[in-house]
């Protein structure tokens, strides 16, 4: 079984549009949406939830005011600026709290407790493209990296019992915590880029990251005809680095149209369907 993540560095290059299409083309697979901060894949694949589980991120510090002796030690110890003096008591900002536990450990009055907080939910569902694991982070909650790992681990666990060819992952943008949580568990990174100054800048950073994690990268250029010069630049860059370019897709409002209809782009445009299929075949053939 191969674990494939679709990544981009820069947001909005077409990760989800492509992932939905690959999900419909791939054989036996588990689909994961690891963009837990802004998940969209479910809007196309319409999963029906079969199983749901609570997600607990880091615990948060909670003050029991009746015990507090107002010594202020907690304010000095907190490195996250999460505790402040307010109207004669201390205010604990749960959004800033990173759950380290230092304040609770060293409060001489034992007035602070670290408490478990529900930080989101994750689901195993049946979608129109097959089994899907996805999640939703609670409002203003942290822990997206941990939630990403939870989602992928759940898929891996299912793959222990049943035979799957692929775990196909719609990844988050950026190069930080949730992307690292994704890359550290996959074999292949499909990097969707666009021929823009910003797209190229971000491509370089995500490629460096995938090489660092020894994950094989492959590149797809989306909106290639928006700027032919920049597309050539990307092609040259990939050639230079020895990273195979799997294909190019045009700049076409049909991508947005597909999203509006709740469809994958390959379901509504034949030409794009042919290109995406040939890209998928490349991945499929070279899976061993």
């Amino acid at each position: 079984m191969k674990k494939i993540a679709i990544l981009s560095g820069k947001g909005g290059t077409g990760k989800t549009s492509l992932c939905a299409s690959f999900a419909l083309l791939a054989g036996r697979k588990i689909i994961c949406d690891c963009d837990v901060e802004a998940p969209d894949l479910h809007l196309v694949l319409q999963p029906k939830i079969l199983h749901r589980e609570s997600f607990y991120g880091m615990p948060k510090a909670k003050l029991y005011e009746e015990k507090c002796q107002l010594c202020g030690l907690c304010v000095n110890y907190c490195r996250f600026e999460a505790i402040s003096k307010l109207n004669g008591t201390y205010f604990f900002d749960s959004i800033s709290c990173e759950g380290c536990g230092v304040c609770a450990k060293f409060c001489p009055a034992e007035a602070i407790k670290m408490e478990r907080v529900l930080s989101g939910e994750w689901f195993i569902s049946m979608s129109r493209a097959g089994i899907m694991v996805h999640a939703k982070l609670g409002v203003a909650e942290g822990g997206s990296g941990k939630l990403v790992s939870t989602v992928i681990k759940a898929a891996e666990k299912m793959a222990e019992k049943e035979v799957f060819e692929y775990i196909l992952i719609d990844g988050p943008p950026g190069i930080g915590c949730p992307v690292i949580a994704t890359l550290s568990r996959v074999d292949l990174a499909l990097i969707v880029t666009e021929p823009t100054t910003a797209g190229i800048h971000d491509l370089e950073r995500i490629l460096d990251l995938s090489l660092h994690f020894k994950v094989t990268p492959r590149v797809i250029i989306n909106k290639f005809d928006l700027n032919m010069k920049k597309s050539k630049e990307i092609e040259g860059y990939c050639l230079n680095k020895g990273i195979p370019l799997l294909g190019k897709l045009p700049y076409n409002p049909i991508f947005s149209e597909a999203i509006r209809c709740g469809k994958a782009v390959i379901e509504i445009d034949e030409e794009i369907a042919r290109t995406v299929s040939s890209i998928w075949n490349e991945i499929n053939i070279k899976k061993e």
């Binding site: 802004a38 490195r79 959004i95 942290g142 690292i180 100054t197 700027n227």
Partner: protein, 291 residues
């Protein structure tokens, strides 16, 4: 006043809005690129970089001579950044949040902190071709392979000058990095695209912004005059629409070249100026309603 630009979904046009707004105004300005994972604003601006600082975070250093491998540090570390084996302590720097807990719990005083670089902070002057002036520009760049962006964003924002109009370009998403970037702003511009993806993520981002109690308004990017869904949403949520930028191949091409479109389409200067006037008004009313 501090105005942050955010979205939830990536690639909706945050940097485009932030940069074009910045270039359209003649107030005393500061620009902060807080998307430290993928900082792109500098690609659209002519910047004279003045200085670059290493950004370090404190991490534990274990003095093996004093350490008796009691394991208290690893037991305390909420992030599993320390592991105590039979003969040594292993530290995983990427997992460390720099809380300082391990050195406080060590009974043998065997842990000290040392500085570990996780990124850089650049300061420069961005040239505004419209007003032939330079404005202060700051950006943070997280080193590739580093997982934790918020400390860098926090440090970057310490340079905000409250007497200036400060524009913050924020990262996508709805969690730690996004929250750290927009926290403390007087106003947040949400940029969306009029698709179900855009709206779904906008809704998530708006909930975060409402939790943080930041007044907000919406800019619809790539509008195709099929914006009914988003207009309904904004009415229902009482989220004012500040403006619309049409789906226009020319704007996309300028973007691809790294050219802020207001420089080639000067009619947009007033569009952004009006948005700023609008925001000022909303912020003023908001303040009055609290006092």
């Amino acid at each position: 006043m501090t105005i942050s630009v955010s979205s939830g979904k990536g690639g909706t046009g945050k940097t485009t809005v932030a940069v074009n707004l910045f270039l359209s105004l003649e107030e005393k300005l500061q620009f902060f690129d807080c998307d430290v994972e993928e900082p792109n604003a500098s690609l659209f601006l002519k910047i004279r970089f003045l200085s670059s600082f290493k950004f370090n975070i404190p991490v534990p250093e274990i003095n093996e001579a004093k350490c008796d491998l009691c394991g208290k540090c690893a037991e305390f570390c909420a992030y599993h950044a320390l592991a105590v084996l039979k003969d040594k302590v292993i530290f995983f720097p990427q997992l460390c949040h720099s809380c300082g807990g391990c050195l406080l719990v060590c009974p043998n005083n065997a842990i000290k902190e040392k500085e570990r670089p996780i990124g850089i902070m650049d300061r420069g002057m961005a040239f505004s071709p419209i007003y032939k002036r330079e404005f202060e520009f700051w950006q943070g760049i997280l080193n590739v392979t580093e997982a934790i962006a918020p400390p860098l964003i926090r440090a970057l924002k310490k340079n905000i000058d409250r007497d200036k109009l400060c524009i913050i370009d924020s990262p996508p998403g709805t969690s730690c990095s996004m929250i750290e970037s927009i926290k403390g702003s007087d106003f947040c511009i949400l940029v969306t695209e009029p698709t179900p993806f855009g709206i779904y993520d906008l809704e998530m981002a708006l909930k975060v912004i409402r939790t943080l109690k930041i007044p907000a308004g919406l800019i619809i990017n790539r509008s195709e005059s099929k914006d009914e869904l988003i207009e309904d949403f904004s009415r229902k949520e009482n989220l004012p629409i500040l403006g619309k930028i049409p789906l226009d191949r020319n704007i996309a091409i300028l973007y691809s070249e790294g050219i802020p479109f207001v420089l080639e389409m000067p009619e947009y200067k007033n569009f952004f100026k009006n948005i700023y006037q609008n925001i000022k008004e909303i912020v003023r009313n908001e303040k009055n309603s609290y006092s």
